[in-house]
């Protein structure tokens, strides 16, 4: 597998894991935590991380 394909696959796996965590963490360890530093902070960080991974996914494209 070429380098860009390997890198793309790795990024996609990370994105899939991250999206799974967006369900597991709020409804698992953070369930019922009534604070801005609970689910709100987690999901905001999740949004930033997801956008960063999508940036990484398309960064290597050769237009």
């Amino acid at each position: 597998m070429t380098d860009y394909k390997r890198r793309g696959t790795a990024t996609l796996i990370l994105l899939a894991l991250l999206i799974t965590l967006a369900y597991l963490v709020p409804y698992g360890p953070l369930r019922g935590v009534e604070s801005w530093f609970g689910v709100f902070l987690f999901w905001t960080a999740f949004g930033v991380a997801a956008i960063a991974l999508i940036f990484r996914l398309v960064a290597g494209w050769r237009p």
Binding site: A22, Y23, S35, G38, W43, F46, G47, I54, V58
Partner: protein, 488 residues
């Protein structure tokens, strides 16, 4: 307030009309020119238009209301959608390359070619009309309620609907996607700037950012957690997010945009620009909903949070007026893109195959656009609860097209029979479940619909003869293009 709203609406309409007419200059001939802006859309303009098309009146009214009713779950719901834009990184270049090579105008036409059956595209086009007309009607209803609410009925509900439909129609008919792109760009700026301004004022009314955080923690702490006040159980969260996650490839008004950019680079700019814009607009809408909890508490209907907040005095009249225009812009920019996309689908994938070659497909598309607009107006005027149910059902309904779309690129064994069974049977089942409000064994209707669509697609495909040659000829230029552009 009424006078201000009327003047602001007039200015907005006049400005939009000027932009739409300016877009007519340089408009070439042909379907590709009209429906896809000649496949020459730049990245920044595409990003702005993609944002305006995706984000409807739902954000500052519906998402804010969802936050008001259910708390922080609304944020997770919308950010999972945004993470689903990873699908554009996968399917965007594939759509684009196939569109460039084969000259496809609609996503349904692409599927017809790949599965070697006109029926596949026709069924997808009809499904899109069934699910998106009520969705457009809800946007028009949103405009009607908002304008009648803030003007104390000086602008009637029906007048609001007609204003919204007329603007969407004019801006679409003016120059097709060219005028939609340019008016969308204008509108998304109005949406973002006005919502940022308004949320700034409500935060200030609550004592600044720290005051807002402290008040929410002190008095509405339950809303900061999941399941929160009760709306966002895990099953509901999954049921809502699953169809939303696939929105970018299941909804033709946005997936068609993957054919329109001038290059792969412009496609990338569109995706990245939209992600940034979407993240900001999501946070603003959710914070707006949290502010309403404190400033207009105990509303029986959460959807009223925004109109009531605008009337609460926390926002200066001028800002309230511009926000109303921003919300109208959000709704109109969604409706016009849906009108254009449905017209192309109905003309290209339903009308053209039935007519001899050389048929007046463009005229048919424009007539369809008028008919769709009239149907949406009529639906909206009825003010039926059924419309709301159907609009919620729309994203779940379109989810049943996802296995067929994914299979087109990633499973050569997929067949037309599998695609048709999957879309038709799962589409009927999910619509029935949603209209009846039934979740068998506690599993949301969208999960049933999606799973059934996947199962049927795989099983029926395995039982029928695959179009190997067609699938290979479809994928050849795509695979080559992906390698040339170093895309995974």
């Amino acid at each position: 307030m009424t006078e201000g709203v009327v003047i602001a609406l007039g200015l907005y309409a006049a400005l939009g009309l000027m932009v739409a007419l300016a877009a007519r200059r340089g408009l070439g001939t042909g379907l590709g020119e009209y429906y896809l802006a000649g496949r020459k859309a730049g990245g920044v303009l595409s990003a702005l238009s993609y944002g305006a098309t995706t984000y409807s009146a739902f954000m500052m009214i519906g998402l804010a209301g969802l936050t008001y009713a259910g708390g922080v779950g609304a944020l997770g719901f919308e950010l999972v959608y945004l993470a689903g834009l990873g699908l554009v990184a996968i399917f965007g270049p594939r759509f684009w390359l196939a569109g460039q090579h084969f000259g496809f105008i609609t996503p349904a036409e692409m599927l017809s070619y790949r599965y070697n059956s006109r029926w596949v595209g026709a069924v997808m086009a009809i499904a899109a009309c069934v699910f998106l007309i009520p969705y457009s009607a809800v946007q028009l209803m949103g405009i009607g309620y908002l304008l009648s609410g803030v003007s104390d009925d000086a602008i009637g509900f029906e007048a609001g609907i007609l204003i919204g439909a007329a603007l969407a129609l004019i801006w679409t008919l003016a120059a097709g996607l060219r005028s939609v792109l340019w008016t969308d760009a204008l509108q998304v700026v109005a949406m973002l700037v006005t919502s940022l301004l308004a949320v700034g004022f409500v935060i200030a009314a609550l004592g600044g950012p720290l005051g807002f955080l402290a008040i929410t923690t002190e008095r509405h702490s339950e809303w900061l957690s999941v399941p929160g006040p009760g709306l966002f159980s895990l099953a509901t969260f999954i049921g809502l997010t699953l169809p939303w996650f696939f929105f970018s490839i299941s909804n033709p008004q946005v997936s068609q945009r993957l054919f329109t950019t001038e290059s792969i680079g412009a496609l990338r700019v569109m995706l990245l620009g939209f992600l940034v814009l979407g993240f900001i607009y999501t946070l603003v809408s959710v914070i707006w909903g949290f502010s309403a909890l404190e400033l207009v508490p105990d509303l029986a209907r959460p959807d009223l949070a925004t109109p009531r907040l605008l009337a609460s005095g926390a926002v200066p009249t001028f800002v309230a007026i511009v926000l109303v225009i921003g919300i109208v812009a959000a709704a109109v920019s969604t409706v016009d893109s849906i009108l254009l996309s449905l017209a192309s689908l109905a003309g290209r994938d339903v009308y053209a195959p039935l007519m001899p070659s050389g048929s007046r497909e463009m005229l048919a598309g424009k007539l369809v656009m008028l008919v769709i607009a009239l149907l949406a107006i009529q639906f909206a005027r009825l003010q039926l609860d059924l419309i709301t149910i159907l609009s919620v059902a729309s994203s779940a309904g379109l989810l049943v097209t996802v296995p067929t779309i994914v299979g087109a690129f990633f499973w050569q064994r997929g067949t037309a029979a599998g695609a048709l069974a999957s879309m038709l049977i799962a589409g009927v089942v999910v619509t029935y479940l949603q209209i009846r409000g039934v979740n068998p064994w506690g599993v949301p209707a969208s999960v049933w619909g999606g799973s059934l669509a996947l199962g049927l697609f795989v099983l029926v495909s395995l039982a029928t003869k695959p179009p190997h040659e067609r699938a290979a000829s479809f994928m050849k230029p795509v695979t080559q293009g992906l390698a040339d552009h170093r895309i995974r």
